[in-house]
């Protein structure tokens, strides 16, 4: 069945339509429909990944509408192309979607009562859009899918509290600017090449030698700028912390791991597959400028994260810092940096998922994510805390978790390119993250309030009543997804070589500097 690749997008799409049709009749049906359609989507993306691995050219191509590709710059119809990178990202998107959809049962009921129908409709369409971004091979189709993902994102954030709606407005403005810049860049590409298919654009650029033309340069700038705005890279990050921090729990669990990472994927796709390695990295100033911007981004975001006294807000700034890692990994321009970047997209999605699921449970149980409300959580919810801190350790980069290996490749990349500033910044931000998470652990064990007042009676007494420190775990529908995510973080860490092998196969097609002779 080669049709499976399109089912990755279609399962959630039909699920969403079904939700909104059947939701009028019974709102209770939405949750199972969401979980079932996500299951189908995950199955389809696993199969697609297997097909991509097994096929001799390592990609699955699917022609929507059945229009053939025999024209020279291809692009009559729309093509879905899943090479190994696209298939991996699609699997990550649908996997996160499945886990969050299982998790969503109670938070959605509690936070958005009466809106379940619309919530699950938007939720599923969001995954549909993001998975489509990973699979499509058409530059304009990518824009439409970006807008599908963006509009559902605005809706999902804004249907929460009033504060969330206020935060969404900036998100809408910046998101529209980003997407419009992307659209404009694609227009320039079309003007110069006459096709919209990514492979077609690549072919025309190669045969016509368009690399020197100012329009292509500006097109590259516009597309990159648009994507950087959408991924909340440092100077454009203003929308992200507010939006994610005030969004309903399930929304932040879904958006935080996926949206920024999928945009990183778009950047890698554009630089490698559309503009090509020589153009993107060698004939422009970006390789000189961006790593320094990344340094500023990571340092600022890490410092901002240190200043926060609230878990969700702190995690939002961590995402901004992680975006800096991945952008840096691409723009230090070598083989290992790109491996690190792609691997970090995958592992960061898993560990951010872990952290946000954990934060959601804390919010659900304690009614606050402020640092002051965390005392004694280890006694109350040991399993939740284990899951949460596996995610945290992965962000820090402790060895058995996947975060260690991706950071390892990033740092190797920095060394190979002799980008010491990037390397040092990575080390610095690792230190900051150690501080962040160990401070959290400390908060849970200390009996000191935020303003320094001693609350307990000493000797492990947390100053909590028996009622407050009793074993009180989250409901299973929330706990199981968290533990699942945590075990995936560990599993990817243990089997990191398998993932890296696939990324290496993907990157093997591009002429990237490895920098070392023993390769």
């Amino acid at each position: 069945m080669s049709d499976l690749i399109v089912w990755i997008v279609l399962f959630p799409l039909f699920g969403a339509v079904f939700c909104s049709l059947a939701g009028a009749w019974s709102r209770r049906i939405c949750y199972p429909v969401a979980v079932l359609s996500m299951l189908g989507s995950v199955w389809a993306s696993v199969e697609t990944l297997m097909q991509a691995i097994l096929s001799p050219v390592h990609e699955v191509s699917y022609l929507l509408g059945g229009w053939s590709l025999d024209l020279f710059p291809r692009g009559v119809g729309i093509e879905f192309r899943a090479d190994l990178l696209g298939a991996l990202i699609a699997l990550v998107v649908t996997g996160v979607g499945l886990i969050v959809s299982i998790y969503s049962k109670f938070p959605v009921q509690r936070e958005t009562p009466g809106k379940e129908t619309m919530y699950y409709g938007l939720f599923l369409l969001q995954i549909s859009g993001l998975a489509g971004i990973a699979l499509t091979g058409d530059a304009f189709n990518l824009y439409v899918l970006i807008e599908v993902a963006a509009l559902t994102g605005y809706g999902l954030v804004a249907l929460g509290s009033n504060r969330a709606a206020a935060a969404t407005f900036n998100y809408v403005i910046l998101g529209t600017i980003g997407a419009s810049f992307y659209l404009l860049g694609v227009g320039y590409l079309y003007l110069k090449t006459g096709t919209l298919n990514m492979v077609g654009i690549r072919e025309v650029i190669e045969t016509n030698g368009l690399l020197e033309s100012p329009a292509m340069q500006v097109s590259f700038v516009l597309i990159l700028l648009g994507i950087l705005i959408k991924m909340a890279f440092f100077p454009f990050h203003a929308w992200l912390p507010n939006a994610y921090c005030h969004a309903p729990t399930t929304t932040s669990c879904l958006l935080a791991p996926l949206v920024t990472k999928v945009m990183i994927y778009v950047m890698i796709r554009m630089t490698l597959s559309v503009f090509g390695v020589e153009f993107s990295f060698e004939s422009t100033l970006w390789t000189e400028v961006l790593p320094w911007l990344v340094v500023v981004a990571i340092v600022c975001a890490a410092v901002m994260a240190l200043a926060q006294r609230e878990i969700k807000r702190m995690l939002s700034y961590l995402i901004v810092a992680e975006v800096g890692y991945m952008v840096g990994g691409v723009w230090i321009y070598n083989y290992y940096g790109l491996i690190g970047s792609i691997f970090h997209v995958i592992s960061d999605a898993c560990m951010t998922l872990c952290l946000f699921l954990g934060a959601g449970i804390i919010l659900e149980k304690c009614k606050t994510t402020n640092f002051d409300g965390l005392r004694g959580l280890f006694a109350r919810m040991p399993l939740t805390m284990i899951g949460f801190f596996i995610g945290g350790f992965s962000i820090i980069g402790l060895p058995p978790t996947c975060g260690f290996f991706s950071k390892w490749y990033l740092i190797t990349g920095g060394m190979v390119s002799e980008r010491w500033e990037y390397m040092i910044t990575l080390m610095f931000s690792t230190m900051v993250m150690v501080v962040l998470f160990f401070r959290l652990i400390e908060r849970m064990h200390l009996a000191v309030s935020e303003d320094g007042k001693n609350l307990g009676a000493g000797h492990g007494d947390l100053g909590l009543s028996k009622e407050q420190s009793r074993f009180d775990e989250a409901p299973l529908s929330m706990l199981i997804p968290l533990l699942l995510a945590a075990s995936i973080v560990l599993l990817i860490g243990v089997y990191n070589q398998e993932v890296v092998d696939q990324i290496e196969v993907f990157l093997g097609a591009y002429n990237l500097p490895t920098g070392v002779s023993y390769k």
Binding site: A24, R27, R110, E111, P113, G114, K115, T117, F140, Y143, V144, E147, L151, Y154, G155, A158, G160, S161, N162, R163, A164, A165, A166, T168, F169, V172, I173, T176, I177, S180, L183, L184, G187, Y190, L191, L196, H246, P248, A307, Q308, R309, E310, R313, K367, N370, F371, D372, E450, D451
Partner: protein
């Protein structure tokens, strides 16, 4: 000034559309970034998107070409097709157009792309307007600096230990709508509540059957 090859001719005569789109885009972007009123920002967003549409449609133009709909002599079901059908019993298949005829039609692809972009623009605008309405309902203002002040004070009230440093607008302008006006308006509303409550049962009927419970805004934020 208009001699061949000068920059002026190059830009303003041969590529006027492309220059106009840049100007429109700058106006829109300026409004989106710098305006204080949320609705004005949205108007800027519309101008911005319109500029992009103008750019794309300009790509599709060909000198001396007509709209991308087959003239009746090329139409698969047009006059020539009918005549052919009458002459031969076998309906004739439409022919591939020759290159010289292809030059007579505009490029259809940019039009299609812009149809998509227009629809996306409308959808974004509708969504953004609804967010504006929600903001106005909750905070009573659509001015960005007032909104930021209100959000800040709300944050201070709701969270005890949160010490987040927030960006303050440099110009704390006086509210355009004075407080007193706000009050009179709400009082007037109370006075008129009889008339608006008259349609209470209509409301119950027209609302979705899922009448929402009170939202827990305070809790979530």
């Amino acid at each position: 000034m208009f001699e061949d090859g000068s920059l002026f001719t190059h830009l303003l005569v041969d590529r006027l559309n492309y220059v106009i789109y840049v100007v429109l885009l700058m106006i829109g972007l300026w409004a989106m970034v710098a305006k204080n009123n949320l609705i004005k920002k949205l108007i800027g967003m519309s101008i911005f998107q319109t500029a992009i549409i103008l750019f794309y449609v300009s790509i599709g133009v060909k000198e001396g070409a007509t709209i991308p709909i087959y003239l009746s002599e090329h139409d698969p079901h047009g006059e020539s097709g009918e005549v052919n059908n009458a002459q031969s019993s076998q309906p004739e298949r439409p022919q591939v157009l020759e290159a010289s005829l292809v030059a007579g039609y505009n490029n259809p692809l940019p039009h299609v792309l812009m149809l998509t972009a227009i629809v996306v623009g409308v959808a974004t605008l509708g969504l953004a307007l609804s967010i504006c309405l929600r903001i106005y309902r909750a905070y009573g203002t659509v001015e960005e600096d007032e909104l930021l002040l209100k959000l800040e004070s709300e944050e201070l009230r709701s969270s005890s230990g949160s010490r987040t440093r927030r960006w303050r607008p440099r110009s704390k302008r006086k509210a355009k709508v004075p407080k007193s006006f706000e009050n009179t308006r709400s009082r007037k509303g109370d006075g008129d509540s009889l008339t608006s409550d008259g349609s209470q049962d209509a409301k119950a009927r027209s609302r979705r059957p899922s009448k929402p419970k009170k939202s827990k805004d305070g809790e979530a934020s």
